[in-house]
């Protein structure tokens, strides 16, 4: 589904990703862990198409297409969803209007008719229940005045509504209390299917108790330095990142 080969990315002239290789197949959940500044968010934003990041080499194939060739909006319409670490506020634009505009763009791209207002509101109600989001959040402006937890839940709500093929969740668990974490996990697990794939970026093993990954990758200093199954996450939790640092620095 997603195949990243030797991906190198510069941000403001600095090398951040130094040759990433990951293969994601339909139905899989991959967790990417790593210390601060290792390049996790850069990887997520690069996949979503943030234009301030410069891809200097490598290749990303997604569903048989050259992903790097697509505009950010086309990537979204092709089913890539990025759950933002810091969701952006858009004052005066209601969630309803925002999501309806977004969903209609997806429909148009697929050559389908846009949903009627009634059908859209019905769909919204369904998805709202799914992620247990406070019902007045959707009548407010996009993320404006939302608490940290509400913003993260709102990301999952949008994901549920847009129903992506590949969801990339960038530290969606940071700053969440245990209840919110459960809700986020529930939303993600609902999306899990044999056709969809999920990449979870996180600092902590905690989230992975709820979203059980098939693979865990450790990103350090712009490279995947270790990959394994979920037990790798426990090891990291127990021993911290220092042993990874030592191990990889020795290798260098």
């Amino acid at each position: 589904m997603l195949s990243i080969k030797d991906l190198k990315v510069k941000v403001e002239g600095r090398d951040i990703l130094k040759g990433i290789n990951i293969d994601v197949k339909p139905g899989e959940v991959h967790a990417i862990m790593g210390p601060n500044g290792s390049g996790k968010s850069t990887l997520a934003a690069t996949l979503a198409g943030k234009d301030t990041f410069e891809v200097t080499s490598g290749e990303v194939r997604y569903l048989g297409k050259d992903l790097l060739d697509l505009s950010p909006e086309d990537r979204a319409r092709e089913g890539i969803f990025l759950g933002f670490q810091y969701p952006v506020e858009i004052p005066g634009v209601s969630m309803v209007n925002f999501l309806r505009t977004a969903l209609n763009e997806h429909m148009k791209y697929k050559g389908e008719k846009p949903l009627s207002a009634g059908d859209f509101l019905k769909l919204m109600r369904e998805k709202k229940e799914l992620v247990d989001i406070n019902s007045d959040l959707t009548s407010r402006s996009v993320n404006e005045g939302f608490s940290g937890g509400e913003k993260k839940k709102n990301e999952i709500f949008q994901m549920a509504l847009l129903n992506p093929r590949l969801a990339i969740l960038d530290e969606t668990d940071s700053g969440l209390d245990i209840d919110a974490l459960r809700i986020v996990a529930k939303g993600v697990n609902n999306l899990r299917s044999k056709d969809n794939a999920i990449i979870v970026i996180t600092h902590y093993q905690r989230l992975l108790d709820y979203i059980v990954p098939d693979y865990v990758h450790v990103l350090y200093n712009g490279k995947i330095v270790k990959s394994g199954d979920k037990t790798l996450a426990y090891e990291l939790e127990k021993n911290g990142y220092d042993w990874i640092r030592q191990e990889s620095d020795i290798n260098v």
């Binding site: 979503a48 198409g49 943030k50 234009d51 301030t52 505009s71 950010p72 909006e73 990537r75 979204a76 319409r77 969803f81 990025l82 933002f84 969701p87 952006v88 506020e89 858009i90 004052p91 005066g92 634009v93 209007n97 925002f98 999501l99 505009t101 977004a102 969903l103 763009e105 997806h106 791209y109 402006s141 996009v142 949008q158 847009l162």
Partner: protein, 482 residues
């Protein structure tokens, strides 16, 4: 990042102005230039009574003693007032008793503008006075409204049919001595709308005037006068467009509003005069004096304006809060793109006790444009407990445009409370990327973000206008990201 920004900003194409077509119709004009003879000729063309001719002459003589104001944050090229045609009218039959008498070309023109003049085709609940160049083409629903005692007609008809009302109120809010453009307008004004709502009547439909400049080399000088007697209410809409031409054209209008006790007038404008092309060639010079007086106690005037057009805009819809417990509001969205310049805002003059005013101004600048808010809040000695709240926000798209705020506050009463808030922000790349990531392309994202920013003002517009205005905002700014 910068090159990407530049690229997108450079895509500011100033989009094809949708209303730039010209109607090929025989036009009757007076010779270029301005002197007493021309003023008298305009008056004669309109078959005016002596008192009106005299008023014009007085205004003209006063205008000759005046200088163009230069205090605004505008670069106005020198205007040769002798190089303008002051009267142009589509040639047609002398009386327009039914629509059958109106030239089909004219009906077609207004159809193209989305303003059908056949009553049955109009949006329900909107009566229209259609003004092209110097004359009113057609006023719809006049008869329906007359049954309620409401007068809604062209200004010329009002001068003929209701001279006492016109004499009493015309110039009572904006005297010809008020400013350079007001004096000019008073001397050469051509037509416009007159509206009178009698005591106790709530006007059941939106009244609207649609102004269209068509002829080349002409100026347009219309006036609107709205009088709302005790306990009455009316909502008034104004729209304007002009053909795309390389030369600049002058538009200097006057709007006067009078509200008596407990009366309310809501005045909404969507100003979309031709703004010039993306290199700043052509466009309308829009120098307008709009003022209302809340004369009776408990009366209310509300100005809402969406300004997207004109090469240069100089306009300050104002209110004199004369009665006690009066309320005045000014809600404005002003968009400038390419080389457009706008210096717009309001004046709130508090005279009555417990008078309240609210100012919400949202400026949006893109391209190489300059956008200024200029507002005066003045509280006179007797205005006990006067209140004002002003909020002036500026949104910048790109780094070649300018946004400026010039608030003036003069308070002569200690019990008054005047608040002013101002913000300046940019549309963030992160906001646009967030929209992109949800599948919304950049152009639509900007439309969404800008409409969100202006929502507080757009919400004040009557429904039919609000939808149009939203589209207009998005179109005016297509491609201009920063």
């Amino acid at each position: 990042m910068t090159s990407e920004q530049d690229k997108i900003i450079n895509e500011v194409t100033g989009n094809d102005y949708k209303y730039g077509f010209e109607t090929l119709i025989e036009t009757e004009t007076l010779p270029k230039g301005l002197n007493e003879e021309i003023v008298r000729a305009i008056s004669a063309k309109k078959d005016e009574p002596e008192w009106m001719t005299e008023l014009r002459i007085k205004a003209f003589r006063h205008w000759q003693t005046m200088q163009m104001p230069d205090w605004a944050h505008l670069k106005i090229p020198k205007i040769d007032y002798q190089d303008i045609i002051y009267y142009a009218a589509p040639k047609q039959k002398p009386s327009l008793d039914s629509l059958d008498d109106v030239d089909p070309e004219l009906i077609d023109t207004f159809n193209k503008l989305g303003i059908p003049l056949e009553e049955q085709k109009l949006m329900t609940g909107v009566a229209v006075d259609a003004v092209m160049d110097s004359i009113s083409v057609k006023t719809t629903f006049s008869e329906t409204l007359a049954k309620l005692g409401i007068i809604f007609c062209s200004f010329s008809d009002a001068v003929k049919n209701y001279p006492d009302l016109v004499k009493k109120y015309m110039g009572s809010v904006v005297p010809y001595t008020d400013n350079f453009f007001a004096a000019l307008n008073s001397a050469v004004f051509s037509d416009g709308s007159f509206c009178f709502i009698p005591k106790g009547v709530r006007c059941p439909m939106e009244l609207s005037t649609y102004f269209r400049i068509n002829a080349a080399n002409t100026g347009q000088f219309e006036r609107t006068l709205i009088v709302a007697e005790d306990d009455s209410y009316v909502s008034y809409l104004e729209g304007c467009t002009a053909p795309q031409r390389d030369e600049n054209q002058l538009h200097a209008a006057i709007v006067e509003i009078v509200t008596m006790e407990n009366a309310e007038v809501k005045y909404s404008t969507v100003q979309n005069w031709y703004p010039g092309n993306k290199d700043g060639v052509g466009g309308i010079y829009n120098f307008v004096t709009k003022r209302g007086i809340c004369k009776g106690d408990n009366s209310k005037i509300s100005w809402t304006q969406v300004e997207t057009g004109s090469a240069i805009t100089w306009k300050y819809p104002s209110c004199i809060l004369k009665g006690d417990n009066t309320t005045a509001e000014f809600y404005s969205v002003a968009v400038t793109n390419n080389y457009q310049q706008a210096d717009t805002g309001t004046k709130m003059i508090h005279i009555g006790k417990n008078s309240k005013s609210v100012i919400v101004s949202k400026g949006i600048s893109a391209g190489k444009s300059q956008n200024s808010y200029r507002g005066l809040v003045k509280v006179l000695k007797g205005a006990e407990n006067a209140r004002n709240f002003s909020q002036c926000d500026s949104l910048l798209l790109g780094d070649k445009c300018g946004a400026h705020t010039f608030p003036y506050i003069e308070v002569d009463n200690d019990s008054a409370i005047v608040e002013h808030e101002a913000t300046t922000s940019k549309i963030g790349e992160d906001q646009i990327f967030y929209c992109n990531q949800r599948g919304i392309e950049t152009e639509n994202a900007i439309g969404l973000i800008v409409n969100g920013y202006a929502k507080e003002v757009l919400n004040k517009l009557p429904m039919e206008f609000a939808v149009e205005a939203q589209k207009l905002l998005a179109i005016s700014l297509e491609g201009s990201v920063g």
